[in-house]
Protein backbone atom coordinates (compact mmCIF):
# COMPACT_ATOMS: atom_id res chain seq x y z
CA UNK A 1 0.00 0.00 0.00
CA UNK A 2 2.24 2.77 -1.15
CA UNK A 3 -0.18 5.09 -2.87
CA UNK A 4 -2.92 7.51 -2.10
CA UNK A 5 -6.13 7.35 -4.06
CA UNK A 6 -6.76 11.08 -4.07
CA UNK A 7 -5.29 12.67 -7.19
CA UNK A 8 -4.67 15.99 -5.43
CA UNK A 9 -1.43 17.63 -6.60
CA UNK A 10 0.23 19.96 -4.12
CA UNK A 11 1.40 23.14 -5.89
CA UNK A 12 2.26 26.66 -4.67
CA UNK A 13 -0.42 28.18 -6.91
CA UNK A 14 -3.01 30.91 -6.40
CA UNK A 15 -5.69 28.48 -7.50
CA UNK A 16 -4.69 26.01 -4.80
CA UNK A 17 -4.77 28.84 -2.25
CA UNK A 18 -8.46 29.48 -2.85
CA UNK A 19 -10.93 28.42 -0.17
CA UNK A 20 -12.27 24.91 -0.94
CA UNK A 21 -15.84 26.21 -1.09
CA UNK A 22 -14.79 28.82 -3.69
CA UNK A 23 -13.32 26.00 -5.78
CA UNK A 24 -16.51 23.98 -5.29
CA UNK A 25 -18.67 26.90 -6.43
CA UNK A 26 -16.41 27.50 -9.44
CA UNK A 27 -16.72 23.82 -10.37
CA UNK A 28 -20.48 23.91 -9.95
CA UNK A 29 -20.80 27.00 -12.17
CA UNK A 30 -18.63 25.48 -14.88
CA UNK A 31 -20.69 22.31 -14.70
CA UNK A 32 -23.90 24.29 -15.04
CA UNK A 33 -22.44 26.13 -18.03
CA UNK A 34 -21.35 22.86 -19.63
CA UNK A 35 -24.79 21.35 -19.26
CA UNK A 36 -26.91 24.43 -20.00
CA UNK A 37 -25.17 26.56 -22.60
CA UNK A 38 -26.33 25.89 -26.16
CA UNK A 39 -24.06 25.58 -29.17
CA UNK A 40 -22.22 22.81 -30.92
CA UNK A 41 -18.73 23.98 -30.01
CA UNK A 42 -19.54 25.79 -26.72
CA UNK A 43 -18.03 23.12 -24.47
CA UNK A 44 -14.82 22.96 -26.50
CA UNK A 45 -14.62 26.73 -26.17
CA UNK A 46 -15.24 26.51 -22.42
CA UNK A 47 -12.54 23.87 -22.15
CA UNK A 48 -10.08 26.08 -24.02
CA UNK A 49 -11.01 29.36 -22.34
CA UNK A 50 -11.76 28.22 -18.77
CA UNK A 51 -10.40 24.78 -17.93
CA UNK A 52 -7.01 25.06 -19.63
CA UNK A 53 -6.18 28.54 -18.28
CA UNK A 54 -7.28 27.44 -14.78
CA UNK A 55 -5.16 24.30 -15.05
CA UNK A 56 -2.21 26.45 -16.13
CA UNK A 57 -2.79 28.78 -13.20
CA UNK A 58 -2.86 25.76 -10.90
CA UNK A 59 0.24 24.24 -12.54
CA UNK A 60 -1.65 20.99 -13.21
CA UNK A 61 -2.11 21.05 -16.98
CA UNK A 62 -0.04 17.90 -17.51
CA UNK A 63 -1.79 15.79 -14.85
CA UNK A 64 -5.15 17.10 -16.05
CA UNK A 65 -4.62 16.13 -19.67
CA UNK A 66 -3.13 12.77 -18.68
CA UNK A 67 -6.23 12.04 -16.59
CA UNK A 68 -8.80 13.40 -19.06
CA UNK A 69 -7.80 11.69 -22.29
CA UNK A 70 -8.08 8.07 -21.12
CA UNK A 71 -11.66 8.82 -20.04
CA UNK A 72 -12.83 11.00 -22.88
CA UNK A 73 -11.14 9.39 -25.88
CA UNK A 74 -12.82 5.94 -25.66
CA UNK A 75 -16.14 7.72 -25.08
CA UNK A 76 -15.55 9.99 -28.09
CA UNK A 77 -14.72 7.08 -30.39
CA UNK A 78 -17.74 5.05 -29.33
CA UNK A 79 -20.14 8.01 -29.48
CA UNK A 80 -18.93 8.96 -32.96
CA UNK A 81 -19.36 5.40 -34.17
CA UNK A 82 -22.76 4.90 -32.56
CA UNK A 83 -24.36 8.31 -33.14
CA UNK A 84 -22.75 8.96 -36.51
CA UNK A 85 -23.66 5.62 -38.05
CA UNK A 86 -26.76 4.42 -36.24
CA UNK A 87 -28.62 7.76 -36.30
CA UNK A 88 -31.85 7.08 -38.24
CA UNK A 89 -33.12 9.14 -41.20
CA UNK A 90 -30.18 11.52 -41.26
CA UNK A 91 -28.44 13.26 -44.13
CA UNK A 92 -25.76 10.88 -45.44
CA UNK A 93 -22.25 12.37 -45.54
CA UNK A 94 -20.41 9.34 -46.89
CA UNK A 95 -20.78 5.57 -47.02
CA UNK A 96 -18.32 2.74 -46.46
CA UNK A 97 -19.89 -0.57 -47.49
CA UNK A 98 -23.10 -1.01 -45.50
CA UNK A 99 -22.20 1.82 -43.09
CA UNK A 100 -23.34 5.40 -43.70
CA UNK A 101 -22.21 8.39 -41.65
CA UNK A 102 -25.07 10.87 -41.12
CA UNK A 103 -24.68 14.59 -40.57
CA UNK A 104 -27.18 14.84 -37.67
CA UNK A 105 -25.52 11.92 -35.86
CA UNK A 106 -22.12 13.49 -36.30
CA UNK A 107 -23.35 16.77 -34.82
CA UNK A 108 -24.84 14.92 -31.83
CA UNK A 109 -21.55 13.11 -31.30
CA UNK A 110 -19.56 16.38 -31.43
CA UNK A 111 -21.92 17.99 -28.95
CA UNK A 112 -21.99 14.95 -26.62
CA UNK A 113 -18.21 14.57 -26.63
CA UNK A 114 -17.75 18.27 -25.86
CA UNK A 115 -20.09 17.97 -22.92
CA UNK A 116 -18.31 14.90 -21.54
CA UNK A 117 -14.92 16.57 -22.08
CA UNK A 118 -16.05 19.59 -20.11
CA UNK A 119 -17.74 17.66 -17.28
CA UNK A 120 -14.85 15.21 -16.80
CA UNK A 121 -12.09 17.82 -17.03
CA UNK A 122 -13.99 20.11 -14.67
CA UNK A 123 -14.23 17.45 -11.95
CA UNK A 124 -10.66 16.26 -12.47
CA UNK A 125 -9.36 19.83 -12.21
CA UNK A 126 -11.28 20.24 -8.96
CA UNK A 127 -9.79 17.00 -7.58
CA UNK A 128 -6.28 18.04 -8.65
CA UNK A 129 -6.39 21.37 -6.82
CA UNK A 130 -8.48 20.46 -3.74
CA UNK A 131 -7.44 18.33 -0.78
CA UNK A 132 -10.45 16.17 0.18
CA UNK A 133 -9.86 16.74 3.89
CA UNK A 134 -9.84 20.54 3.61
CA UNK A 135 -12.98 20.42 1.49
CA UNK A 136 -14.74 18.27 4.07
CA UNK A 137 -13.47 20.41 6.94
CA UNK A 138 -14.86 23.52 5.29
CA UNK A 139 -18.18 21.77 4.63
CA UNK A 140 -18.35 20.56 8.25
CA UNK A 141 -17.73 24.15 9.35
CA UNK A 142 -20.79 25.01 7.24
CA UNK A 143 -22.99 22.41 8.90
CA UNK A 144 -22.40 19.16 7.00
CA UNK A 145 -22.47 16.27 9.56
CA UNK A 146 -18.94 15.22 10.60
CA UNK A 147 -19.79 11.52 10.26
CA UNK A 148 -20.84 11.98 6.65
CA UNK A 149 -17.68 13.95 5.88
CA UNK A 150 -15.57 11.22 7.50
CA UNK A 151 -17.21 8.48 5.44
CA UNK A 152 -16.65 10.38 2.18
CA UNK A 153 -12.99 11.24 2.79
CA UNK A 154 -12.07 7.88 4.37
CA UNK A 155 -13.71 6.03 1.47
CA UNK A 156 -11.61 7.98 -1.02
CA UNK A 157 -8.40 7.58 0.95
CA UNK A 158 -8.75 3.92 1.81
CA UNK A 159 -9.45 2.59 -1.68
CA UNK A 160 -5.78 1.53 -2.15
CA UNK A 161 -5.95 -0.56 1.02
CA UNK A 162 -9.09 -2.28 -0.23
CA UNK A 163 -7.44 -2.86 -3.61
CA UNK A 164 -4.29 -4.27 -1.97
CA UNK A 165 -6.38 -6.66 0.10
CA UNK A 166 -8.28 -7.81 -3.01
CA UNK A 167 -4.94 -8.51 -4.73
CA UNK A 168 -3.67 -10.43 -1.68
CA UNK A 169 -6.82 -12.58 -1.60
CA UNK A 170 -6.51 -13.23 -5.32
CA UNK A 171 -2.87 -14.31 -4.87
CA UNK A 172 -3.76 -16.49 -1.88
CA UNK A 173 -6.57 -18.25 -3.76
CA UNK A 174 -4.32 -18.71 -6.81
CA UNK A 175 -1.73 -20.30 -4.51
CA UNK A 176 -4.44 -22.72 -3.34
CA UNK A 177 -5.20 -23.72 -6.91
CA UNK A 178 -8.19 -21.52 -7.71
CA UNK A 179 -8.58 -21.01 -11.47
CA UNK A 180 -9.66 -17.50 -12.40
CA UNK A 181 -9.02 -17.71 -16.13
CA UNK A 182 -10.53 -19.83 -18.89
CA UNK A 183 -14.21 -20.43 -19.61
CA UNK A 184 -16.99 -18.15 -18.42
CA UNK A 185 -18.27 -20.90 -16.13
CA UNK A 186 -14.86 -21.28 -14.49
CA UNK A 187 -14.54 -17.51 -14.03
CA UNK A 188 -18.02 -17.29 -12.47
CA UNK A 189 -17.29 -20.15 -10.07
CA UNK A 190 -14.15 -18.27 -8.90
CA UNK A 191 -16.14 -15.21 -7.82
CA UNK A 192 -17.44 -16.59 -4.51
CA UNK A 193 -14.05 -17.65 -3.05
CA UNK A 194 -12.69 -14.24 -3.98
CA UNK A 195 -15.54 -12.01 -2.89
CA UNK A 196 -16.54 -13.69 0.39
CA UNK A 197 -13.13 -13.29 2.12
CA UNK A 198 -12.91 -9.74 0.82
CA UNK A 199 -16.29 -8.81 2.29
CA UNK A 200 -15.69 -10.61 5.60
CA UNK A 201 -12.25 -9.10 6.14
CA UNK A 202 -13.59 -5.67 5.22
CA UNK A 203 -16.35 -6.03 7.82
CA UNK A 204 -13.72 -6.86 10.46
CA UNK A 205 -11.74 -3.81 9.33
CA UNK A 206 -14.80 -1.60 9.65
CA UNK A 207 -15.36 -2.75 13.24
CA UNK A 208 -11.71 -2.23 14.20
CA UNK A 209 -11.59 1.17 12.55
CA UNK A 210 -14.81 2.20 14.28
CA UNK A 211 -13.23 1.27 17.62
CA UNK A 212 -10.01 3.08 16.74
CA UNK A 213 -11.69 6.35 15.82
CA UNK A 214 -13.96 6.10 18.88
CA UNK A 215 -10.79 5.72 20.97
CA UNK A 216 -9.63 8.97 19.41
CA UNK A 217 -12.73 10.85 20.52
CA UNK A 218 -14.49 10.89 17.15
CA UNK A 219 -17.91 11.16 18.80
CA UNK A 220 -16.78 13.48 21.55
CA UNK A 221 -19.44 16.15 22.02
CA UNK A 222 -18.62 19.82 21.91
CA UNK A 223 -16.77 22.03 19.45
CA UNK A 224 -13.92 20.54 17.47
CA UNK A 225 -10.76 22.34 16.45
CA UNK A 226 -8.51 21.85 13.44
CA UNK A 227 -4.79 21.65 12.87
CA UNK A 228 -5.21 22.74 9.27
CA UNK A 229 -5.99 26.39 8.88
CA UNK A 230 -8.17 27.11 5.87
CA UNK A 231 -7.64 30.66 4.73
CA UNK A 232 -10.17 32.71 2.83
CA UNK A 233 -9.33 35.99 1.12
CA UNK A 234 -11.78 38.84 1.71
CA UNK A 235 -12.84 38.95 -1.94
CA UNK A 236 -13.76 35.26 -2.14
CA UNK A 237 -17.21 35.46 -0.58
CA UNK A 238 -18.52 38.17 -2.98
CA UNK A 239 -16.71 36.38 -5.83
CA UNK A 240 -18.63 33.20 -5.03
CA UNK A 241 -21.94 35.05 -5.28
CA UNK A 242 -20.86 36.60 -8.57
CA UNK A 243 -19.89 33.16 -9.85
CA UNK A 244 -23.27 31.78 -8.82
CA UNK A 245 -24.93 34.48 -10.94
CA UNK A 246 -23.52 32.73 -14.02
CA UNK A 247 -25.91 29.82 -13.38
CA UNK A 248 -29.14 31.76 -14.11
CA UNK A 249 -27.28 33.47 -16.97
CA UNK A 250 -26.45 30.05 -18.47
CA UNK A 251 -30.05 28.97 -17.95
CA UNK A 252 -31.34 32.17 -19.57
CA UNK A 253 -29.07 31.71 -22.59
CA UNK A 254 -30.28 28.15 -22.89
CA UNK A 255 -33.93 29.23 -22.86
CA UNK A 256 -33.32 32.21 -25.12
CA UNK A 257 -31.08 30.62 -27.72
CA UNK A 258 -32.54 27.14 -27.36
Amino acid sequence: MSEQFSIFQSRPSRLHALHPVTKLVLTFCLLAAALLLPGLWTNYLLFALAILPLATLGQVTGPLLRAVWPTVLPFAISVFLIQGIIYPHGTPLFSLGPLTLKREGLLLAISGTGRILMVVSNFILFALITRPDTLMLSLVQRGVPGGLAYIVVASIQLVPRFRARAAAILDAQHARGLETTGSLRRRLSAIVPLVVPLILSSLVDVEERALAIEARAFNHPGPKTSLIEITEAGWERPARWLLLLTVPVSLGLRLWLG
Binding site: Q4, P132, A154, E208, L211, A212, A215, A217, N219, L227
Partner: protein, 282 residues
Protein backbone atom coordinates in the same frame (compact mmCIF):
# COMPACT_ATOMS: atom_id res chain seq x y z
CA UNK B 1 -5.71 4.20 39.11
CA UNK B 2 -8.09 1.49 37.93
CA UNK B 3 -10.11 -1.09 39.77
CA UNK B 4 -12.06 -4.16 38.71
CA UNK B 5 -14.48 -5.52 41.28
CA UNK B 6 -15.81 -9.02 40.52
CA UNK B 7 -16.10 -8.31 36.81
CA UNK B 8 -17.68 -10.95 34.60
CA UNK B 9 -18.51 -10.31 30.95
CA UNK B 10 -20.23 -12.26 28.19
CA UNK B 11 -20.25 -11.10 24.56
CA UNK B 12 -23.72 -10.96 22.98
CA UNK B 13 -25.13 -14.34 21.96
CA UNK B 14 -22.47 -16.34 23.79
CA UNK B 15 -22.74 -18.66 26.78
CA UNK B 16 -19.12 -18.71 27.98
CA UNK B 17 -17.92 -15.59 29.77
CA UNK B 18 -14.91 -13.89 28.20
CA UNK B 19 -13.98 -12.48 31.64
CA UNK B 20 -14.73 -14.35 34.88
CA UNK B 21 -14.96 -12.71 38.28
CA UNK B 22 -11.93 -10.47 37.83
CA UNK B 23 -10.94 -8.36 40.82
CA UNK B 24 -7.80 -6.26 40.85
CA UNK B 25 -6.45 -2.77 41.46
CA UNK B 26 -3.69 -1.11 39.45
CA UNK B 27 -2.30 2.04 41.10
CA UNK B 28 -1.40 5.22 39.19
CA UNK B 29 2.01 5.11 37.55
CA UNK B 30 2.26 1.32 37.54
CA UNK B 31 3.39 -0.51 34.37
CA UNK B 32 1.30 -3.67 34.42
CA UNK B 33 1.51 -6.44 31.81
CA UNK B 34 -1.25 -8.89 30.98
CA UNK B 35 -0.21 -12.23 29.51
CA UNK B 36 -2.03 -15.40 28.57
CA UNK B 37 -2.74 -17.80 25.73
CA UNK B 38 -4.86 -16.77 22.75
CA UNK B 39 -8.51 -16.55 23.77
CA UNK B 40 -7.63 -15.98 27.43
CA UNK B 41 -9.54 -12.69 27.52
CA UNK B 42 -6.66 -10.21 27.23
CA UNK B 43 -8.16 -8.06 24.47
CA UNK B 44 -11.58 -8.20 26.15
CA UNK B 45 -9.94 -6.87 29.30
CA UNK B 46 -8.44 -4.05 27.24
CA UNK B 47 -11.85 -3.20 25.76
CA UNK B 48 -13.38 -3.33 29.24
CA UNK B 49 -10.83 -0.91 30.68
CA UNK B 50 -11.38 1.49 27.76
CA UNK B 51 -15.17 1.31 28.13
CA UNK B 52 -15.83 -0.41 24.80
CA UNK B 53 -17.31 -3.11 26.99
CA UNK B 54 -20.20 -2.46 27.52
CA UNK B 55 -20.64 0.70 25.39
CA UNK B 56 -19.56 -0.72 22.01
CA UNK B 57 -19.74 -4.48 22.58
CA UNK B 58 -22.95 -4.69 24.52
CA UNK B 59 -23.24 -8.18 26.05
CA UNK B 60 -23.64 -8.74 29.77
CA UNK B 61 -21.29 -7.06 32.21
CA UNK B 62 -21.54 -7.63 35.95
CA UNK B 63 -19.33 -6.17 38.65
CA UNK B 64 -17.79 -2.71 38.55
CA UNK B 65 -14.94 -1.23 36.49
CA UNK B 66 -13.56 2.06 37.79
CA UNK B 67 -11.00 3.87 35.67
CA UNK B 68 -9.50 7.21 36.68
CA UNK B 69 -12.34 7.67 39.16
CA UNK B 70 -15.15 6.89 36.69
CA UNK B 71 -17.40 3.85 36.70
CA UNK B 72 -17.13 2.86 33.03
CA UNK B 73 -20.70 1.55 32.83
CA UNK B 74 -22.20 4.78 34.21
CA UNK B 75 -20.44 7.25 31.93
CA UNK B 76 -20.26 7.57 28.16
CA UNK B 77 -17.37 6.60 25.91
CA UNK B 78 -16.85 10.29 25.26
CA UNK B 79 -16.22 10.80 28.99
CA UNK B 80 -13.70 7.97 29.00
CA UNK B 81 -11.61 8.81 25.94
CA UNK B 82 -10.08 11.83 27.65
CA UNK B 83 -8.82 9.58 30.44
CA UNK B 84 -8.15 6.19 28.82
CA UNK B 85 -6.02 5.73 25.72
CA UNK B 86 -6.20 2.46 23.80
CA UNK B 87 -3.66 1.37 21.21
CA UNK B 88 -4.78 -1.61 19.16
CA UNK B 89 -2.93 -4.58 17.75
CA UNK B 90 -3.46 -3.86 14.05
CA UNK B 91 -1.85 -0.53 13.14
CA UNK B 92 -3.40 -0.37 9.67
CA UNK B 93 -6.90 -0.03 11.10
CA UNK B 94 -5.87 2.69 13.54
CA UNK B 95 -5.02 5.18 10.83
CA UNK B 96 -8.01 7.50 10.57
CA UNK B 97 -7.95 7.32 6.78
CA UNK B 98 -8.76 10.99 6.38
CA UNK B 99 -5.43 12.69 6.96
CA UNK B 100 -2.73 13.55 4.44
CA UNK B 101 0.27 13.73 6.78
CA UNK B 102 1.47 11.99 9.91
CA UNK B 103 1.35 15.31 11.79
CA UNK B 104 -2.34 15.69 10.91
CA UNK B 105 -2.96 12.06 11.82
CA UNK B 106 -1.53 12.64 15.31
CA UNK B 107 -3.79 15.70 15.55
CA UNK B 108 -6.98 13.71 14.81
CA UNK B 109 -7.89 12.94 18.44
CA UNK B 110 -6.89 16.41 19.64
CA UNK B 111 -9.13 18.03 17.03
CA UNK B 112 -12.04 15.88 18.20
CA UNK B 113 -11.38 16.90 21.81
CA UNK B 114 -11.38 20.56 20.78
CA UNK B 115 -7.79 21.23 21.91
CA UNK B 116 -6.70 24.74 20.84
CA UNK B 117 -4.37 24.75 17.83
CA UNK B 118 -1.35 26.21 19.63
CA UNK B 119 -1.53 23.57 22.35
CA UNK B 120 -2.16 20.93 19.70
CA UNK B 121 1.08 21.84 17.92
CA UNK B 122 3.04 21.57 21.17
CA UNK B 123 1.57 18.20 22.07
CA UNK B 124 2.08 16.81 18.57
CA UNK B 125 5.74 17.88 18.47
CA UNK B 126 6.40 16.39 21.92
CA UNK B 127 4.74 13.02 21.25
CA UNK B 128 6.26 12.67 17.80
CA UNK B 129 9.67 13.25 19.35
CA UNK B 130 8.96 10.78 22.13
CA UNK B 131 7.82 8.02 19.78
CA UNK B 132 10.59 8.62 17.23
CA UNK B 133 8.43 9.72 14.32
CA UNK B 134 9.44 13.39 14.04
CA UNK B 135 11.13 12.68 10.70
CA UNK B 136 7.87 11.25 9.32
CA UNK B 137 5.81 14.38 10.04
CA UNK B 138 5.07 15.25 6.41
CA UNK B 139 4.71 11.67 5.13
CA UNK B 140 1.32 10.23 4.22
CA UNK B 141 0.17 7.83 6.97
CA UNK B 142 -0.97 5.43 4.27
CA UNK B 143 2.55 4.99 2.92
CA UNK B 144 4.18 3.96 6.20
CA UNK B 145 5.49 0.53 7.15
CA UNK B 146 3.65 -1.47 9.82
CA UNK B 147 6.18 -0.48 12.49
CA UNK B 148 6.00 3.19 11.58
CA UNK B 149 2.20 3.05 11.63
CA UNK B 150 2.33 1.46 15.07
CA UNK B 151 4.44 4.36 16.35
CA UNK B 152 2.01 6.83 14.78
CA UNK B 153 -0.91 5.06 16.44
CA UNK B 154 0.85 5.25 19.80
CA UNK B 155 1.77 8.92 19.29
CA UNK B 156 -1.85 9.71 18.35
CA UNK B 157 -3.10 8.27 21.63
CA UNK B 158 -0.28 9.70 23.79
CA UNK B 159 -0.96 13.18 22.39
CA UNK B 160 -4.41 12.96 24.01
CA UNK B 161 -2.59 12.72 27.39
CA UNK B 162 -4.59 9.86 28.92
CA UNK B 163 -4.29 8.98 32.59
CA UNK B 164 -4.53 5.28 31.73
CA UNK B 165 -2.84 3.80 28.69
CA UNK B 166 -3.95 0.36 27.46
CA UNK B 167 -1.67 -1.17 24.85
CA UNK B 168 -2.87 -4.30 23.05
CA UNK B 169 0.31 -5.79 21.56
CA UNK B 170 1.60 -2.39 20.49
CA UNK B 171 4.88 -3.76 19.16
CA UNK B 172 3.59 -6.59 16.99
CA UNK B 173 4.97 -4.92 13.83
CA UNK B 174 8.11 -3.44 15.37
CA UNK B 175 11.63 -4.84 15.16
CA UNK B 176 13.45 -5.52 18.47
CA UNK B 177 15.17 -2.11 18.53
CA UNK B 178 11.89 -0.33 17.76
CA UNK B 179 10.08 -2.36 20.43
CA UNK B 180 12.68 -1.46 23.04
CA UNK B 181 12.53 2.24 22.11
CA UNK B 182 8.73 2.40 22.22
CA UNK B 183 8.35 0.47 25.47
CA UNK B 184 11.13 2.51 27.09
CA UNK B 185 9.30 5.70 26.07
CA UNK B 186 6.06 4.37 27.56
CA UNK B 187 7.85 3.31 30.72
CA UNK B 188 9.41 6.76 31.08
CA UNK B 189 5.99 8.37 30.59
CA UNK B 190 4.42 6.11 33.19
CA UNK B 191 7.08 7.17 35.67
CA UNK B 192 7.20 10.89 34.87
CA UNK B 193 3.46 11.59 34.39
CA UNK B 194 2.17 8.81 36.64
CA UNK B 195 0.27 7.22 33.77
CA UNK B 196 -1.10 3.78 34.53
CA UNK B 197 0.02 1.43 31.75
CA UNK B 198 -1.66 -1.89 30.93
CA UNK B 199 0.41 -3.75 28.35
CA UNK B 200 -1.02 -6.83 26.67
CA UNK B 201 1.90 -8.73 25.24
CA UNK B 202 2.82 -12.22 24.07
CA UNK B 203 6.56 -11.57 23.96
CA UNK B 204 7.43 -12.32 27.56
CA UNK B 205 11.03 -11.06 27.31
CA UNK B 206 9.65 -7.53 26.87
CA UNK B 207 7.23 -8.02 29.74
CA UNK B 208 10.09 -9.11 31.98
CA UNK B 209 12.21 -6.14 30.91
CA UNK B 210 9.62 -3.39 31.36
CA UNK B 211 6.67 -4.37 33.55
CA UNK B 212 6.38 -3.69 37.28
CA UNK B 213 3.73 -6.34 37.62
CA UNK B 214 2.35 -9.25 35.59
CA UNK B 215 -1.21 -10.55 35.44
CA UNK B 216 -1.84 -13.96 33.90
CA UNK B 217 -5.25 -14.61 32.38
CA UNK B 218 -6.56 -18.06 31.49
CA UNK B 219 -10.05 -18.69 30.16
CA UNK B 220 -11.12 -15.22 31.30
CA UNK B 221 -9.93 -15.65 34.91
CA UNK B 222 -6.96 -14.18 36.73
CA UNK B 223 -4.65 -17.10 37.58
CA UNK B 224 -1.50 -15.25 38.68
CA UNK B 225 -0.60 -11.72 39.75
CA UNK B 226 2.78 -10.55 40.95
CA UNK B 227 6.22 -9.19 40.08
CA UNK B 228 7.66 -10.37 36.70
CA UNK B 229 10.55 -12.29 38.28
CA UNK B 230 8.09 -14.31 40.31
CA UNK B 231 5.20 -14.81 37.86
CA UNK B 232 7.21 -15.39 34.69
CA UNK B 233 9.42 -17.97 36.39
CA UNK B 234 6.46 -19.87 37.85
CA UNK B 235 4.86 -22.97 36.35
CA UNK B 236 1.52 -21.20 35.99
CA UNK B 237 2.43 -19.90 32.53
CA UNK B 238 3.24 -23.39 31.29
CA UNK B 239 0.10 -24.80 32.88
CA UNK B 240 -2.01 -22.30 30.95
CA UNK B 241 -0.05 -22.42 27.66
CA UNK B 242 1.09 -18.82 28.00
CA UNK B 243 4.70 -19.61 27.10
CA UNK B 244 7.93 -18.72 28.91
CA UNK B 245 10.89 -16.45 28.30
CA UNK B 246 13.76 -18.00 26.38
CA UNK B 247 15.96 -17.46 29.49
CA UNK B 248 13.55 -19.33 31.71
CA UNK B 249 13.32 -22.08 29.11
CA UNK B 250 17.14 -22.41 28.93
CA UNK B 251 17.37 -22.61 32.70
CA UNK B 252 14.60 -25.22 32.84
CA UNK B 253 16.43 -27.32 30.25
CA UNK B 254 19.67 -26.92 32.22
CA UNK B 255 17.85 -27.95 35.40
CA UNK B 256 16.49 -31.07 33.69
CA UNK B 257 20.08 -32.02 32.85
CA UNK B 258 21.33 -31.29 36.35
CA UNK B 259 23.03 -28.04 35.37
CA UNK B 260 20.81 -25.74 37.40
CA UNK B 261 20.32 -26.09 41.15
CA UNK B 262 16.72 -26.89 42.11
CA UNK B 263 16.64 -24.14 44.73
CA UNK B 264 18.01 -21.42 42.42
CA UNK B 265 15.33 -19.08 40.99
CA UNK B 266 14.78 -19.28 37.25
CA UNK B 267 15.87 -16.17 35.31
CA UNK B 268 13.36 -14.11 33.30
CA UNK B 269 15.68 -11.48 31.82
CA UNK B 270 18.98 -11.64 29.96
CA UNK B 271 21.05 -10.02 32.75
CA UNK B 272 19.58 -12.47 35.29
CA UNK B 273 20.35 -15.40 33.00
CA UNK B 274 23.92 -14.26 32.32
CA UNK B 275 24.61 -13.71 36.03
CA UNK B 276 23.09 -17.05 37.02
CA UNK B 277 24.90 -19.07 34.36
CA UNK B 278 28.20 -17.36 35.22
CA UNK B 279 27.69 -18.16 38.90
CA UNK B 280 26.87 -21.78 38.07
CA UNK B 281 30.04 -22.19 35.94
CA UNK B 282 32.48 -24.61 37.60
Amino acid sequence: MLTLDHVTYRYPNTERPALRDLSLTIPAGQFCAVVGANGAGKSTLAYTLAGFVPHFYHGTLTGAVTVAGLNTASVTLADLVRRVGLVFQNPYNQISGTKFTVREEVAFGLENLGVPRAEMLERIAATMQLTGIAALAERSPLTLSGGQMQRVALASVLAMQPQVLVLDEPASQLDPIGTREVLAAVQALAASRRITVVLIEHKLEWVAAFADRVLVLADGALVADGPPAEVLASDVLLTHAAGQTRYTQAARLARAQGGWPANQPLPVTLPQAVAAFQAARP
